[in-house]
Subunit: 247 residues, 2 copies
C-alpha cells in the first residue's frame, strides 16, 4: 500500500470498462475487516450501477460528470437501522435514536470508506470521494430509499482510470502534528506552513482565475462560504432529525 | 495491504520497544496523501509519548490499560482552527464556526485516521482505535489544550504487538450491501445474517457471562444503553457548542 498511497490522486475520468462485480464484492468484503464500534459494523453501502439511478443521483452532487460516467457509484451510510432491527428481533430494546449514535455510526462508515479507497487504489482502480454527500442528504435518502436511522455520509465514484492528474500538494508534516499539547499558530507559522502551497503555479493561477488576491480568499469567499456553510448546516441538522438521530 | 487487512486485529498489548520517531513521522506524512475537502487537510494529530500525559488521558478512555502501556497515543482532531487562522492572515473572513464545517473536518480526520491505521498495520505495528474519544471530549480538550474549532474525534494507541488475539467475526457481505436501493431487513433476514455471529462459542460465552438471554441484549442493555447514549449525546453537543461548531 505504501506505493499506491504515495502516488494516489483523485480520479474523475474512467475508461468505458466495467468493474467486475466479483472484484467489487471482494473489495467491499475485505474493507469490512476495518474495526467498528463493538464490532457492530454500523454502516451500509448502496451500490449504484443502473444508469438511470446515476442520473437521479447526479444533481445531489452538483452534476459533477463522474457520477454518471463512473461504472460504479457507492453511497456509504451511517446505519443504526439494521442493528436496531436485530435488537428488536432478540427481545432487546435499542436506544440508538440519538446524536452520539449518529457520531458512532458515521465514524464506522467513514473508517470503512477509507479502507475501501485504499484497497481499490491498490488494485489499480481510480476513486473519487464526493464530499457533496452531506450537502443534500434528504434527496439521496429519497432516491436510495434509506429508512430511519440511516444517513448517507460519503460517496465514491469508482472505475478504471482514464487520466493521470498531477499529484496535489500537501502541507508539511509540522502543520498537522503537535507534540504533547496543541501549539497554536502565529503569523510566522502560517507564512512558513502555507507559503509553499501558495507559491505553486497551479494555485497562483487558481487565484488569478477567480479574480482574488489570495488563495485563502478563493476558499472563504467562493468555494466554502459562511453563507453556504450556515444554510447547509441547517439542512444537515434537519435531516438528522428526520432520520431519527436528533431530538 | 490485502494481506495485512485480512489478518488485522485490534492490538491492546505492546512490547516494551519504542516506536521510532522517524517511522512514526513517515507514517503520519504518508497518511496525509488521503484526500480531504478542497485539499485543506482539516485535521490535526496530537502525539502523546510523555508518561504523565498518558496517565492524564487514561481516565478519558475509562482507564483502558493500553493508553498508559502503548509507546504512542495519537489523538486525531477535526481542525478548522488552522485553516481559519490562515484565512485571517490572508485578508479572508473564515466562516467555519458551524455544524457543516464540523462534519467536513471530522470526515477529513476520520479518513486520515483510517489510512494511518492501514499503513501502521502494514508496517507490522499493532493499533487499537479508541471509540471512547467522543464520550468525554471536554477532558481531552483541556488536557491537550485544544483551541476553539478543534474537536478530538479519534484516538489510536500504537506499538509493537505483544499478543495475537483471534480474528473477530464479521457479518456476511449481504448484511451491509444494498443494490440500487436500500432493502430493509425482515425477521428472516435478521436470523440469516446474525445467526452465524450469535452461534460462535465466544459470543455465546459472552451472553452467559453477562447473564443475558441474547447477544443483542448484551449490547443494548449493558454495553451501549439508551441512558448512556442520551447522556453522552448531550455532552458531545455541549462540547461542540463550546468549541464553536454549533450555535
Amino acid at each position: 500500500m505504501t506505493d499506491s498511497i504515495k502516488t494516489r490522486r483523485s480520479i474523475r475520468k474512467y475508461k468505458a470498462k466495467e468493474v467486475d462485480n466479483s472484484l467489487l464484492d471482494q473489495l467491499l468484503e475485505l474493507a469490512a475487516r476495518t474495526q467498528t464500534m463493538g464490532n457492530l459494523q454500523l454502516y451500509s453501502v448502496v451500490v449504484t450501477r443502473d444508469a438511470e439511478m446515476k442520473q437521479r443521483l447526479a444533481p445531489c452532487h452538483f452534476n459533477q460528470p463522474m457520477v454518471v460516467q463512473a461504472p460504479v457509484v457507492l453511497t456509504i451510510c451511517a446505519d443504526f437501522n439494521r442493528t436496531s432491527q436485530w435488537c428488536r428481533q432478540r427481545r432487546a430494546e435499542p436506544g440508538y435514536d440519538n446524536f452520539l449514535s449518529f457520531i458512532n455510526a458515521a465514524s464506522d462508515a467513514l473508517l470503512y470508506t477509507q479502507t475501501l479507497c485504499n484497497l481499490a487504489e491498490e488494485a489499480g482502480l481510480g476513486v473519487c470521494y464526493l464530499g457533496t454527500t452531506v450537502y443534500q442528504p434528504q434527496q439521496i435518502i429519497d432516491i436510495l430509499k434509506l429508512p430511519r436511522l440511516v444517513m448517507p455520509i460519503a460517496t465514491l465514484t469508482i472505475g478504471w482510470p482514464d487520466e493521470q492528474p498531477v499529484l496535489s500538494d500537501r502541507l508539511p508534516l509540522e502543520a498537522i502534528v503537535h507534540r504533547e499539547t496543541y501549539s497554536d499558530y502565529d503569523a510566522a507559522d502560517i507564512d512558513c506552513l502555507y507559503g509553499p502551497k501558495e507559491s505553486l503555479p497551479e494555485n497562483q493561477h487558481f487565484v488569478e482565475f477567480n479574480h482574488k488576491e489570495t488563495l485563502a480568499q478563493v476558499f472563504a469567499e467562493i468555494r466554502y462560504t459562511r453563507k453556504d456553510n450556515e444554510a447547509l448546516s441547517g439542512v444537515f441538522l434537519d435531516t438528522l432529525r428526520r432520520q431519527g438521530f436528533l431530538d
